[in-house]
Amino acid sequence: MPVRKYKLFGLVTFLMLMLLTLSACGNETALTKQNEYDKVNTSKQMVWGVKADTRLFGLMNIKTGKIEGFDVDMAKEITKRIDPKAKPVFVQVTSQTRIPLLKNGNIQAIIATMTGTPERAKIVDFSKPYFNAGQSLLVVKGSKIKDVNDLNHKGVTVLGTVGSNSVINIKKVAPKAHVLQLQDYAQALTALKSGQGDALTTDNGILYGMSEQNPTTRVVGGTFTKEPYSVAIDKNQAELKNAINKAIAAIHKDGTYDRLVKKWFSNVPGFNWRTLLND
């Protein structure tokens, strides 16, 4: 039936054209962004993307429904120093959703265990680092895996989260290992405990948080990369970036930083929190 075929062909062409214009328009309008620093001062609020599934950094308190952690406290302190009257607003993000949400303007800044890598720096801007993290491994107790060298074998499965830098790193360090990417840390930890993988890899701080809550797991092998965390903001927001850098410097200077590090990390077994203080 030639008429049918013609119709189908027309449909597909129409669809392609529609999608092309759609993505073209998208790129164009993205350029006209407002000054987010001014927006914080006028709207009296600063919208942060934070994790809700990461113990010690950003974790949902089931009783209160509020997110708590080091990142959240840092965001509060930074907001206070940018504009004393502004209120921090927290939007839950995952490693996968945080960059698109920043780029499309749903959030103004990301403080979500995020490392400022050169690849990411091409599309977002990073503040000065605010936390010294390094990538490490979490295994179930009794596992044969002692450090990252044990991962580079066929048949070894490593778990991580979609969009995290640690997944990219592990593919370089242990190219023979099979890597599975889950939606968030809760899912990845669940997968580790149900035997879907031999090790879970991400930054040491996050892993210590997991092992604190789950005594059947432990962190092994020390850190094998440096993954300092920074606040991410959109490109061309120099004013906001400078304000955040100034705020982070002030937080260090007046002792707030030491207080926050002590509050969140001094009670974590196996974790030498004092190393966080020496830059």
Binding site: R4, L8, L15, L20, V162, A191, K193, S194, G195, Q196
Partner: protein
């Protein structure tokens, strides 16, 4: 967009293959299970009917994500399986409930006189079912079954939640390494449409022909 497609061509094709493979395997399993439970729901035995009914209602009323996650994180503690296997089992069980309903409707649509005639001619219940009723019922249910397969292909995107390496999983990975979110998902969408759109037009054509 063309750039994303060419640089990640092999990832997309790999994901597309997994999506198709998982959908086809899930279709075969769910056809067998679905037809089985459809028959169990109408055989003259109240207890068997009830069991089949409970099975169908459970999988019809619980989200696919919950079924799939259950297999991925709970069942794997006892039986080792990959995300792809767990996801495909979840898809197959979930879809089987819908296929059971479809096939049952097909069986009931076959003229009652046919059954009575066959039984009067000395065929047993199972012979009647196998030789007379089921072949006719399947003819009636081909378009709705085709639509179930389309649903299956779309639903197989659930594999992305359990690291199943399907099209959606690859899309997530590409989007989060290239940061070209919208373009990547547009390409992913086109890959899904390549399977589902022609199929849905063909099913509509069949429906019109049968009606």
């Amino acid at each position: 967009m063309i750039n994303i497609l060419t640089t990640h061509w092999s990832d997309f094709v790999h994901g597309f293959g997994i999506t198709l493979l998982s959908s086809i395997i899930a279709l075969i399993i769910s056809m067998i299970l679905g037809t089985g439970f459809a028959i169990l729901e109408i055989v003259p035995n109240k207890l068997v009917n009830t069991i089949a009914h409970i099975y169908i209602q459970i999988f019809r009323n619980i989200p696919l994500l919950v079924v799939t996650m259950f297999f991925y994180v709970v069942v794997t503690q006892f039986v080792k399986m990959s995300g792809l296997v767990a996801g495909t089992i979840g898809l197959a069980l979930y879809t089987s409930a819908f296929i059971a309903e479809t096939v049952r409707a097909g069986i009931l649509a076959v003229d009652k006189g046919q059954t009575e005639g066959a039984r009067a001619n000395g065929l047993t219940y199972w012979q009647t079912m196998r030789i007379i009723v089921l072949p006719q019922a399947f003819k009636i249910v081909i378009p709705p079954l085709g639509n179930q397969f389309i649903n299956l292909v779309k639903n197989s995107s659930i594999l992305a939640f359990v690291a199943g390496f399907d099209l959606m999983y690859q899309g997530n990975e590409i989007a989060s390494t290239t940061f070209d979110t919208i373009d990547t998902y547009v390409v992913v969408g086109l890959f899904y449409l390549v399977i589902t759109l022609p199929l849905s037009y063909y099913m509509r054509y069949l429906e019109n022909k049968l009606a």
